[in-house]
Amino acid sequence: MERDLENANPTILSVSQLPSRSRKGTAVRHGPDAKCDSIVYPKHSWPYGSSSSSDEEDDDGEEPMDEQDIYDLISTISDPEHPHTLGQLSVVRLPDIHLSPSPAELTGPDSLVTVLVELTPTINHCSLATVIGLAVRCRLEQTLPPNYRVDVRMKVGSHAQDDQVNKQLGDKERVAAALENDTLQRMVDKMLETCV
């Protein structure tokens, strides 16, 4: 383990500089624009008889998401080496979050949505890029409905080992195994402590 910080002087944005919708601080919308959601997006129900109960975690995830919602979910993740969030360090940036297709255009609750998050590590050789990516993927998979497919990548040119890191983060089996590694799991848990 290196005791020196990888990047001793990162640029830090203050909380008021971060992109936000209304500073309500939660990802779930209850405003007037969400009141029709239950009509537009029928509750997820299993179409094949006997296993009638849909998963519990589905139930609160039916509102259409947008990029700001995704940003709100992951910008509050703590950096593993600085006492700041990924949003403050601009590792996570709103313009680098892409939803396709837009959840508002979904034809049904099972239609897939791809969330692409491109991360910008604070410096070129950040060895913690993989851990940060893992935490982001983990956070999104835990909070988003199961029809979301999460792709986490390093922004082109931002990281020396883009391909390796991207491939690792895209490998479901490796991610699953990594999260069974106690050391990694502890790091990720700690990073996610600051998420609401």
Partner: protein, 462 residues
């Protein structure tokens, strides 16, 4: 290298000419209980109506007669069980007699870097009908009994240690003599059953193959019971192993005359992790060597064909220092080696259906039909056009023979609702709804939702 055929529309046979076969895929009631957590794979027993599903740190065995839980393997692994394989009956896979011994044996590969060998002895022991009967009685209610009290009947007998990290795949050779395991440590290990005669669980490492540059995701042995699989290649033993890797390649391994396992071919073409492979298990009309099907994170499924030499007696060519495969020869001087190299050509790319990783493909030994699934939650079934007149051009000149054409017969979207599907397999039907019990095939899919779902597949000629 072939060029991919144009993609076909992802609906049932809509792009196919009339009078071709069509398939309908309809859901059957899912296996009970729901596992409520990601399940990785479900492997049917080669002869008995049992299915082993790996999930979390355990394996649930389901009855194919009742679609309900038969037994469970728990407590053997410190981390998730990723994969399982049923041990072929000792004394030959085709020897049905050996099921009379009423011993089930399963091997588990885990993220804890080990493989575990388990056995299940029939509790009563005196009934002459054997396990198959017992399984059915169990669920006709004659024996009462809940679902959970049969845990103790599976015993964890032996742990195979050696891999440095997660074991991701394993497979028994057709005769059961060898077990291959593969891992994130980039290696394939071959273990030999040295306790078979005494009936002990004793396995010895006979080879460690470390030529892949990344995780080895899966291993598969070529079926040797086919007439065409008997290697004409006299320099090797009959067993042929293939491995698929995170390094985007597939490697073919054979045991040479000196008992060394060597890489005889590297199959390059996929543009992402190769998640796995399936050997052709249905005998080919043209008597050629079984083909290999591979599937990848690049969303494609490829078919590879061995370029067969027309004259096996021909002296091997000297390949000298230009041989790109010399790294496969280990420390042994290349002059001591004979013609080791095999040429495998990509002879087909299946119609593109999947939009994300293809996690699993199953190639039916009975019908030759192929089923695939993956991250996009789609099930697809394909058939090979068996009569393609005029495509025999390659067959005469020692190349890989005709290129094959594959057609999409049917797809099912959201087969596990919004969830990813990790595994698909053809599987014999034993349930009361089967028209030809023990012969008719269905599909079984295993998903992130923890549901193991059987599907009826009907093929009709329109």
């Amino acid at each position: 290298m072939s060029t991919p055929p144009p993609p076909e529309p992802a609906s049932a046979a809509s792009g196919a000419p009339a009078a071709k076969a069509e398939a309908t895929i309809t859901p059957l009631p899912p296996f009970q209980p729901d596992l409520y957590q990601r399940a990785w794979s479900s492997v049917p027993h080669p002869t008995l109506p049992l299915l082993a599903t790996a999930h979390a740190k355990s394996v649930t065995v389901f009855s194919l007669a009742t679609f309900s839980k038969h037994s469970a393997l728990t407590g053997g692994h410190a981390r998730s069980v990723r994969t399982t394989a049923w041990q072929p009956p000792r004394g030959g896979a085709s020897n049905a007699e050996s099921t009379r011994k009423r011993r089930l044996a399963l091997v588990t590969g885990s993220f804890d870097a080990t493989a575990g060998m388990w056995s299940y002895e029939e509790a009563g022991g005196d009934e002459p009908e054997g396990l198959e009967k017992e399984v059915r009685l169990d669920h006709d209610g004659d024996r009462g009994g809940g679902e959970d009290n049969d845990n103790k009947e599976w015993e964890f007998n032996l742990v195979l240690e050696g891999h440095e990290n997660e074991v991701k795949g394993l497979a028994f050779s057709p005769g059961g003599q060898y077990l291959a395991t593969c891992s994130r440590d980039k290696s394939v290990w071959i273990w030999e059953d040295v306790g078979a005669e005494e009936g002990d669980d004793e396995w010895e490492t006979v080879a460690v193959l470390s030529e892949h540059d990344g995780d080895v995701k899966a291993v598969a042995w070529c079926p040797s019971d086919l007439p065409n699989a008997r290697a004409k290649r006299r320099h090797y033993s009959a067993d042929v192993l293939a491995s698929a890797s995170y390094d985007n390649t597939v490697r073919i391994w054979r045991e040479d005359a000196d008992g060394e396992w060597v890489c005889v071919s590297v199959l390059e073409g996929h543009e992402g992790t190769v998640w796995g492979l399936q050997w052709e298990s249905k005998a080919r009309a043209d008597g050629r060597f079984p083909r290999l099907m591979t599937f990848s994170a690049d969303g494609t499924i490829r078919v590879w064909t061995l370029r067969e030499e027309e004259e096996e007696e021909k002296e091997p060519e000297e390949e000298g220092s230009a041989n790109p495969f010399r790294s496969g020869f280990g420390g042994i001087p290349s002059t001591m080696r004979r013609s080791l190299r095999e040429e495998w050509d990509c002879t087909a790319v299946l119609p593109k259906v999947h939009t994300r990783d293809v996690y699993s493909v199953s190639w039916s030994a009975d019908t030759g039909l192929v089923a695939s699934t993956g991250s996009d939650g789609v099930i697809a079934v394909y058939a090979e056009d068996d009569t393609s007149p005029g495509t025999n051009s390659g067959a005469e000149d020692g190349t890989s023979g005709p290129k094959s054409n594959w057609r999409l017969l049917a797809t099912v979207s959201n087969a596990h609702g919004p969830y990813e599907i990790n595994h698909i397999t053809w599987c014999k039907r034993f349930d009361p709804g089967a028209e030809r019990k023990g012969k008719e095939e269905m599909l079984v899919t295993t998903g992130d939702d923890g549901v193991v779902r059987p599907w009826q597949v009907r093929i009709s000629s329109s």
